[in-house]
Symmetry: D2
Subunit: 123 residues, 4 copies
């Protein structure tokens, strides 16, 4: 998935505001679902981030086109760990591991089979 850096993503430091890399990764996770005809969000069921660990390696700037790559590194019944990287022309700018948990009516729940099958392809 590709993301363009617009004004709204930058800050007075002239670079992308730190938490926006995390937003870009979230867009990529959602887009994975959309691309497979699925949605990460249904009425009272959806994924939430539970933990994340991120490295800010080099800054992205206005007008950059960034590549976001997502791999599933752990897939359990009710949660998954994903490794996501953001690169610009092949140079890594950002990476993070994020643990997402599946919630149904605000409680941890089993990831539905079709979603699990789809996620397993990114392992």
């Amino acid at each position: 998935m590709k993301v363009r850096v617009y004004y709204e993503d930058t800050d007075v430091g002239g670079v992308v505001y730190h938490s926006n890399y995390i937003n870009f990764c979230e867009r990529a996770r959602s887009e994975m679902f959309f691309q497979h005809g699925l949605s990460p969000h249904q009425e009272n069921e959806f994924f939430v981030a539970k933990h994340l660990e991120a490295n800010f390696i080099k800054p992205a700037v206005f007008a950059d086109i960034l590549d976001i790559d997502t791999k599933v590194i752990k897939l359990k019944n009710a949660s998954a760990v994903l490794h996501q990287t953001i690169t610009r022309d092949g140079e890594k700018l950002f990476e993070m591991n994020v643990t997402v948990a599946y919630l149904k009516n605000k409680r941890p729940a089993k990831i539905p089979d079709n979603m699990k099958e789809f996620l397993s392809r990114y392992l």
Copy 2:
């Protein structure tokens, strides 16, 4: 209501990103409700912006403390027009008129009496 300008509010131009003034005004509208023990949002009932007209007069910058002032200039059964200004040390940076409509189950609805009474104090 006072708002501090943080990194997230600025952009690479070194000033507050244009639509964030509109967000600051929305915070002030919500805060008006909170300060009166009310909420602008209940289950399936809330206000939505229908129209706005804004003037960007002077830019605010990182670390600024801004004052947001809100007046009700029209109050109807299902909608209201508010005039909001953002000033810094008395100097006007931004102003807008925003029309908000009350929705109940996604349809236009009468503004509840207690809300209307409270809004009428800002006329």
Copy 3:
């Protein structure tokens, strides 16, 4: 230009947060420049929004793919007025007129010829 609605664009009302339509339009204006090999932002020269008037017609929701259309309706030496609409499957959700002014070292300046020429194609 197409924009996907992600989590970050929505709010607790279940729809796109009002000022994000304005951000989507800003992305589209920047993208117009990028697509022509230009940038709306150079060191100390860039466009700023001076005035906008917006109508929120129907809400967009999570996962929507939106089309943003931009027309130049007035083109002067140091400013321009653009009309932008956001549609979903041909249905208009949002429209605005925005006046942008060109700044050089924080002062109003003549829009460079190559930019003016390019903008004139959207008249």
Copy 4:
């Protein structure tokens, strides 16, 4: 430092969008400086986030008033590690460790003495 949750901070899940907790923590770090008559950002010198590790424990919702607490847990010449927590009525919703580095003209630089002295009070 206290932060109110407004519409813009929430998403369609009805809770605060995950990366906004990280923004709230950044506001608190900036505010620490402001409260001591300092600024985290000067011309070509400022702090940037290099690494963060975050736990999303419980969600915050619209209208919540959150407390953000910041402690310095490591203070080196050119960087610092801070531990930040977000609580609501004493209940912990979020915590993170963030490593910030000092940059001068885009290169790692020694944290100025007055800033170091001030940060050491949060150890």
